[in-house]
Amino acid sequence: MLEVQGLVKRFGGFTAVNNVSFRVDRGEILGLIGPNGSGKSTIFNMLSGTQAPTSGSIVFAGAEIGGLAPHRIINGGIGRTFQIPRPFRRLTIFENVSLAGFYGQGRHSRAKAEQAAERALAMVGLPTDRHAAVDGLGAAGLKKLELAKALATGPRLLLADESLGGLDEAEMDQAADMLRKIRDDLGITIIWVEHIMGVLMRVVDRVMVLDHGEKISEGSPSAVAGDPRVIEVYLGTDAETTQAAAAEARRRVGG
């Protein structure tokens, strides 16, 4: 479904993403993890058109999309959320989502956009009330709105950017279940970027680990959680912390 080859992004002399290749199969949930500044968000920005790749190719559903304008990529079937929710506060919750339903799906009709908005809001568990203001939402609500906006654009591939930051443990589990439900019920393929490794490991089919812009590991959650390179760069070298985190990851995965 998505085939990335030799993706590179440089900002001046700094190489944020260095020769990264990967593929995502239909119906899969791919986890993308790595420490701060490892290039996860830059990859997302290139996949969604916010930034153009310096070199490399991104083929989605058989067509090269690297460097296309974001609205064309969104209309082509990719949806994205932002790491920090970016709601439109001057619009109501419903308008936020119906906007995405309208512009994200070829601007067909308002009625269709509103149906898409209702479905997306129901999916993430937000009220479909037409007049509710964004200001009434808390951290978890804003994350849900962010997800609803992305879903309303009718994606076949969803790019979920660190959707769990700022949530408590119960909310995190709910959100993780939500992503799985989106894949299972709607058949949407997902790439999920996350800091919080434990929750991610429980849900994803495959994990890719980045460090300093390079891919250092890829595979099943349990294999990656046991990879010494991953443990070293991602979890740090402090022995006690590392062991605790690795144990936690294994417990979550159940391996």
Binding site: I74, R90, F102, Y103, R110
Partner: protein
């Protein structure tokens, strides 16, 4: 108020406005009303963009193009304003696209956008002044009087006709406002004004949406300039183009309230009454005072009443309206 009640109120208000010049014939007061209606339309045109954070100081340029292109085509080619006005509007629209596209494509926003549009105002003013052999330069320009067929020349002596024309144009402006307000474009532009990347991630073609509203706004402003010129039968670069006209639009829209449809109209009432009061009260001694007062008031409004007079009043009324049962 119920929607039926509101419709009835609009109907009665409209009927009263149409009937007014037939019962009340004081030419000076009608003149002031015509000016208020034309400038209200111009300020509404500006607010089409301004309400979405696209603050333009270039609208004096669009107004000048509309006025001068129409008058020049009439005087030099004998082309009726019925055709000249659309050509003038098209010219202003083209200018808007030429300036807008690079700005929007390369994400020149905020202060930088204001500066680019400011240059546009200045350039149009300079071009009109520099081509004085055709435009009369800073001395101003008068469309030739039509000997016959005044309808074809769009020249009328009686205030009643002009009042009705200005009223129609003003109503058209309000209609366009409401049309945009109810469209998906309004949601898209609100989103863009808050966060361009997030709007693009919702699938919005940011450049296209901004260009669309800029084009609409420029076309309307050019029409305002042409109508003003036909009514006054005399324009100078300073009255219909240049930076002072642009600033006057910003001032009036902000004072009246640029987020509500009748806000710019309230702004026009205030600015024109202010200018007239100063003119009558102090005569030539007060030339330019209105600009000084505008400047001071503009600062005060931005600090204390950013939603403008009408916007703030409507906001005060809102809780009460919500309390009453709505259908």
């Amino acid at each position: 108020m119920t929607s039926q009640g509101r419709l009835a109120a609009w109907g009665i208000g409209l009927a009263a406005l149409v009937a007014l010049p037939f019962v009340y014939r004081d030419p000076y007061h009608l003149h002031i009303l015509v000016l208020i209606l034309i400038w209200s339309f111009a300020y509404t045109s500006w607010s089409m963009m301004g309400r979405f954070g696209l603050v333009s100081l270039g609208h004096g340029g669009f107004m000048g193009v509309g006025a001068y292109v129409t008058a020049l085509l009439w005087n030099h080619l004998g082309l009726t304003p019925w055709i000249g006005i659309p050509i003038g509007m098209a010219a202003a629209g083209l200018l808007a696209l030429l300036v807008g596209y690079p700005c929007f494509r390369f994400r020149i926003t905020g202060h930088y956008f204001v500066l680019v549009t400011l240059a546009l105002s200045g350039i149009v003013l300079q071009v009109i002044t520099a081509t004085r052999d055709y435009t009369g330069g800073s001395l101003g320009y008068t469309p030739n009087r039509a000997a016959t067929n005044r309808l074809l020349a769009l020249q009328f002596d009686d205030k009643t006709t002009w009042y009705l024309i200005a009223l129609a144009v003003w109503l058209a402006g309000l209609a366009i406002w409401h049309w945009v307000d109810r469209s998906m474009s309004r949601q898209a532009l609100e989103a863009i004004s808050e966060d361009e990347d997030a709007a693009a991630a919702a699938g919005v073609d940011v450049t296209a949406e901004k260009l669309k509203i800029t084009l609409i706004s420029a076309l309307m402003t050019a029409l305002a300039g042409a109508v003003y010129c036909q009514y006054q039968m005399f324009v100078t670069p300073d009255t219909v183009s240049g930076i002072s006209v642009s600033l006057q639009m910003v001032f009036a829209a902000i004072v009246g309230g640029l987020y509500v449809s009748l806000g710019p109209t309230v702004g026009a009432v205030i600015t024109i009454l202010l200018a007239e009061t100063l003119r009558i009260g102090f005569g030539t001694r007060a030339v330019g005072w209105d600009n000084l007062v505008y400047g001071v008031l503009l600062v005060l409004f931005i600090i204390f009443l950013p939603k403008g007079i009408l916007g703030s009043v409507l906001e005060r009324l809102k809780p009460q309206r919500k309390a009453s049962p709505s259908p």
